[in-house]
């Protein structure tokens, strides 16, 4: 229970951080509810008073009923309810969207500090998509779990106070019953549905994984003839999950029925109490009717609670996931060691360095020792999975070695501050990320202040200038989501052009010539050769097909199953 609140607390306080807005939003909801109740109550008072006055008039007696004030009140509340509802919805939706921006900003902040191991996880994009949904869930808490119970409680107390003016006994009864019902619907229903609604979210995740399995292992399942076996697994989950959902839905229906039942019985009780008071002459008839109609309308106050609170467990799962993300962000380890100033490439030293990803059985890198002089160029060959990107990420400080030592310019790269690393190290990764924007947007990522001429020069260096000139929108050509409007080879060249816009002193290039024809490869090699003067460079490549593409190579190594062996400098120099 304590853990529950301590997990929830920071997120909830983030939601109500804009305190004034939260209060205004709640007050608007309250105003809507109270206008509705007042409209109903006043109307009841008015017609009862009219009926009694009518009887007096019919009997020839004078009546002093003022019909203008209540009439005006009725019109006012009719309008007020409509307007308050409209304004409330607008105001609170505006608030929810503002919170969405806040939440995304917050979560994005956590993500920016994740290391390469977390970002490169299997099914990572799936995980990220779910994260987006979790933020939306948390955002929804505001309108479902924060405002309604608060408003319901305040409205209940106001109703009771109002009734207490005439019938304190009834007021106590109404307050007692409605507050108890409120507690059952909020606290009780949270506990009652917590496990099942949490289970529902987990079932959905399991189902998603099983479906992904069916899709990704479809060749195996179909050829081994085990598709039915897998289908049976999904069916079993579906059956279990359906009965869980059914139980949860029954509880939700119980909640709504409970409100109708309790409020209905309360209404009948109020009628009895009112009737008794009337018989003793303690109260005027119009007041009794007004109280009755207010009690009648009170069920509307509680209506949104059961559905929302039954699903608290599901929302809590989202909160837990976001919390896990927040706590998985590595504590700031960088001691902000500065890199040496000046010009020229950095020297690199690895001594028995090794790395094991969390959860992996084997080390991905084992006892790697490597020395690269300042300004040297080396090549590391190896098949995919041999550990090339792990080695690159160790050099970039994006992974911390689990054994041994990694040094760039005499410093542990992971100790160097983020912005220092960003400006002095550069990495053309195997999987290039282009963002949904224009060609220029993607290039300016590397140098926000670059003018068009500089961008064109960079494009020329990667043999894309001609192509870009042929595009009707030139530098403003959209590249599409994940750069899908470009071919794989073009996307990689755009990524390479981004490097050319920077002035790093250590450059790591993973398959710089992948996906381009021989002529383009030669063009790229020439540009690279020129640009790499005075920088330290490591090429990571599958295999060296054409040594002429790697001019100035001082040494080459081969990486196999995480072990680095020197091939020598036979094809270099």
């Amino acid at each position: 229970m304590k853990a529950f609140f301590s997990t929830l607390y920071p997120w909830l306080s983030l939601l109500v951080r804009r305190r004034a807005a939260f209060m205004v939003g709640s007050l608007l909801v309250l105003a809507t509810l109270l206008s509705g109740l007042s409209l109903l109550g006043l109307s009841g008072w008015f017609i009862t008073a009219c009926a009694l006055a009518g009887l007096l008039l019919a009997a020839g007696q004078p009546s002093t009923l003022d019909i203008y004030v209540p009439g005006g009140g009725i019109r006012f509340f009719a309008l007020a309810r409509t307007v308050a509802r409209y304004v409330e919805r607008l105001y609170n939706h505006n608030m929810v969207l503002t919170l969405l921006a806040d939440l995304r900003y917050q979560v994005f902040g956590y993500l920016t500090r994740l290391d390469a191991a977390s970002l490169g996880r299997r099914r990572a994009s799936d995980w990220l998509t779910r994260l987006t949904a979790d933020i939306d869930t948390l955002d929804n808490l505001y309108l479902r779990l924060l405002i309604p119970p608060l408003v319901a409680l305040v409205a209940t107390l106001l109703i009771a106070l109002f009734i207490a003016i005439w019938l304190p006994g009834l007021a106590l009864l109404v307050a007692g019953v409605l507050v108890a019902l409120w507690a059952v619907l909020t606290l009780g229903f949270t506990a009652w549905g917590f496990r099942q609604s949490g289970q529902q979210v987990r079932d959905q995740g399991t189902l998603r994984n099983l479906v992904l399995d069916q899709l990704q292992a479809s060749a195996e399942l179909s050829s081994y003839g085990t598709a039915r076996w897998h289908q049976a697994k999904i069916d079993a989950l579906e059956t279990r999950s359906s009965s869980n959902q059914r139980r949860l839905a029954f509880k939700g229906a119980m909640g709504n029925a409970l409100i109708l039942l309790v409020c209905g019985l309360l209404l009948i009780m109020a009628l009895r109490v009112g009737g008794e008071a009337l018989a003793t002459g303690r109260i005027d008839a119009p007041i009794v009717v007004m109280i009755l109609l207010v009690v009648l309308g009170s069920s509307e106050i509680l209506a949104p609670l059961p559905g929302a609170f039954l699903k608290f467990g599901a929302s809590f799962q989202s909160v837990l996931r976001l919390d896990r993300l927040a706590s998985s962000v590595p504590v700031e380890t960088a001691t902000n060691t500065p890199l040496p100033a000046g010009q020229g490439g950095y020297d690199v030293l690895l001594e028995n360095a090794g790395y094991r990803y969390p959860g992996m059985l084997e080390r991905t890198l084992e006892q790697v020792s490597l020395k690269i002089g300042a300004g040297d160029r080396v090549a590391v060959t190896g098949i995919s999975g041999a550990g090339k990107s792990t080695l690159a990420n160790l050099l970039l400080g994006r992974l911390i070695p689990t054994q041994g030592r990694v040094e760039v310019a005499g410093r542990m790269p992971c100790d160097v501050a983020f912005d220092q690393r960003a400006s002095h190290f550069a990495f053309l990764s195997q999987q290039v990320d282009l963002f949904d924007g224009t060609l220029a947007d993607n290039l300016r990522l590397a140098d926000p202040s670059a003018d068009d001429a500089k961008l064109w020069r960079a494009l020329d260096q990667v043999a894309l200038a001609d192509w870009a000139e042929r595009q009707p929108r030139g530098l403003s050509t959209p590249v599409g989501e994940k750069g899908r409007r470009l071919s794989g080879g073009q996307a990689r060249r755009v990524a390479l052009a981004r490097l050319f816009l920077r002035g790093p002193r250590l450059v790591l290039l993973d398959e710089p010539f992948a996906g381009v024809d021989a002529e383009t490869a030669r063009h790229l090699a020439k540009s690279l050769d020129r640009w790499l003067q005075g920088r330290t460079a490591v090429y990571f490549i599958h295999q060296v097909d054409d040594v002429s593409l790697l001019p100035g190579l001082t040494y080459s190594y081969s990486l196999d199953r995480g072990r680095l062996t020197a091939i020598g400098s036979d094809h270099a120099r």
Partner: protein
């Protein structure tokens, strides 16, 4: 099934939803009936309440003499609660069954579309369709559909009761009635537009967020994370600004309904009040009593209530239509996997006669005629894109020939291995069971031993039950390939199809795979191996080469 109708384009999302609703006709009708009965109970309860008030105040009756009516009201309250419960549970039950049915159909369709179709589609997006989009149908069937029936019956019922009490009020309500479809359309259009625009904007915004998050490594490398973080805030805020414009209009339409319900109370209250005071001397106003006056006052908002409920659930409809569109698209995809085939001559596993293979409009291989005998070990070579994988897919039954005939020996068990072995979410045992669900732990252990994973197994405290994948341990590429080999050892399938089994492997694993191939060959299994590897070719007894859209057998 929609998937194999001859004219798939004929299904619209609405037809699809109607068709699904028909499968749960009884429950949905039951839910609507319960809703109408709950509304009827409410009506009776309110009329009873008005009558009691009149008896107590105007007629001066004592509480004691009215206790029978009080009991009746208690019964009505209980009845109303039960009916409300019934409406919800029946609706949910129908929705659950419909969703289960749709999901099963989708999974069947995906299985029938086969591995080749799947490789050309994003599995993440497809999984979203199977999981989230199917769940998006929930509200439509559980709430909107029954409410659509209720909205037709209940207001009429209430109008009749009101009419019996005072026909002027019912005229007022009925005058508002023609406006209701008009405003409903307005609400509908508002909601639909809201949904379309919001949905579009929110998905663009989510795409923006996911796009930045996905490229986080790149942002980190360029030191642009703070800038991107601010971009995320501004983009979301810009979205807020834009969507508030839409919302201002969209909320108006529901405000109109709200307005009607409020005005109904106000107008009826004024009419009844003045009537009771005797200020109105035409129509039935002179015969108004506190009973009839209070009853029509209470019933006036109830007349609009079903419609208000419907408009609250309108987004369920829009969400369901959106989901239905994507589901219908998937269910309407033509199935291309192979159907039943003729049997080849004796001893042969496959006999291809003048077969043409291709994707869409492009043929990859033509005039392929060959016989694959049991025990053959075939090396299949050719440049990438020359049709090796397509031929394997044809043999595996993942695709049907575009022309000619592919005769296959029925019920031949097959094993499959490609360059990216699939790991299931689950234990080591689950991953092996994929090849043979019946296999016991001993057989699994033996298979792992043969695949060279015996040592690894000993180091795992949970043994075969060790979870793999996201929540469990990770395997390196070489280990994953060995696990795939263990599947083949376990399955004992006489026919093994392998697509580049040695690609992307470290030297040690590669040698191990080649050795395994030799062992299977000498155990008499039939192997067809698409490969570049010279060692693999040396094991083979036959050699097929693909080039220029032809398949040629090269003598050993």
């Amino acid at each position: 099934m929609r998937g194999d109708t001859s004219n798939p384009a004929s299904t619209t999302p609405r037809q699809f939803l109607d068709e699904l609703a028909r499968t749960q006709r009884k429950r949905l009708a039951g839910a609507a009936a319960c809703g109408v009965l709950a509304g009827a109970s409410t009506t009776a309860l309110l009329v009873g309440l008005a009558w009691l008030v009149d008896q107590l105040i105007v007629q001066g009756q004592s509480l004691r003499s009215l206790s029978g009516v009080f009991s009746l009201l208690v019964v009505l309250v209980v009845l109303r609660a039960c009916m409300q419960w019934g409406q919800e549970t029946l609706g949910i039950e129908a929705s659950l069954r419909i969703r289960q049915r749709v999901r099963r159909r989708l999974l069947e369709q995906l299985a029938a579309l086969g591995p080749l179709w799947l490789t050309r589609h994003q599995s993440g997006a497809l999984a979203t369709q199977v999981v989230e989009h199917v769940d998006a149908l929930e509200g439509y069937f559980a709430r909107f559909h029954p409410q659509l029936r209720i909205v037709v019956v209940l207001p009429l019922l209430i109008a009749c009761v009101v009419g019996a009490l005072d026909y002027v009020v019912v005229i007022f309500l009925l005058l508002a009635a023609p406006l209701i479809p008009f405003f409903m359309a307005l609400v509908g259009m508002g909601a639909e537009r809201l949904n379309r625009e919001q949905f579009g904007a929110i998905s663009r915004l989510s795409a923006h967020f996911v796009d930045r998050v996905r490229g986080m490594s790149t942002l980190q490398l360029f030191g642009q994370t703070e800038q991107a973080r601010r971009d995320v805030w501004y983009a979301t805020d810009e979205y807020r600004r834009l969507s508030m414009k839409t919302l201002r209009l969209a909320f108006l339409s529901s405000a109109v309904l709200e307005f009607f319900a409020s005005v109904a109370i106000a107008v009826v209250a004024m009419y009844v009040g003045f009537g009771l005071l005797g200020y109105i001397d035409y129509g039935p106003a002179s015969s108004l009593t506190l009973f009839s006056g209070l009853a029509v006052l209470l019933l006036a908002p109830e007349f609009f209530q079903p419609l208000r409920t419907l408009s609250q659930h309108y987004h369920d409809r829009a969400a369901a239509l959106g989901a239905a569109e994507s589901l219908v698209y998937l269910l309407d995809q033509p199935r291309k996997a192979a159907g039943p085939a003729n049997t080849p001559g004796t001893g042969a596993l496959f006999e291809l006669v003048d077969v043409e293979i291709g994707h869409d409009d492009e043929s990859v291989l033509r005039e392929v005629s060959l016989v694959l005998e049991s025990g053959d070990v075939v090396a299949l070579t050719g440049a990438s894109g020359s049709g090796k994988s397509s031929l394997l897919a044809l043999l595996a039954g993942f695709m049907a020939p575009r022309g000619g005939e592919c005769r296959r020996c029925p019920h031949v068990q097959m094993a499959w291995l490609d360059q990216s072995p699939c790991l299931l979410q689950g234990s080591l045992a689950d991953n092996l069971a994929l090849a043979d669900p019946e296999a016991g732990p001993e057989a699994m252990r033996e298979a792992l031993n043969q695949a060279g994973l015996g040592e690894l197994l000993e180091t795992l405290p949970q043994g075969l039950e060790t979870p793999l994948g996201e929540r469990g341990v990770g395997l390196s590429g070489g280990q994953a390939q060995r696990l795939a080999l263990a599947r083949i050892y376990l399955s004992a399938a006489p026919l093994v199809l392998l697509d580049e089994p040695t690609a992307n492997l470290d030297a040690e694993t590669e040698a191990f795979v080649v050795e395994a191939l030799g062992r299977w060959a000498s155990a008499g299994r039939t192997l067809v191996i698409a490969t570049h590897h010279p060692h693999v070719r040396s094991i083979a007894s036959r050699h097929w080469h693909c080039a220029h859209q032809r398949l040629e057998e090269i003598a050993p």
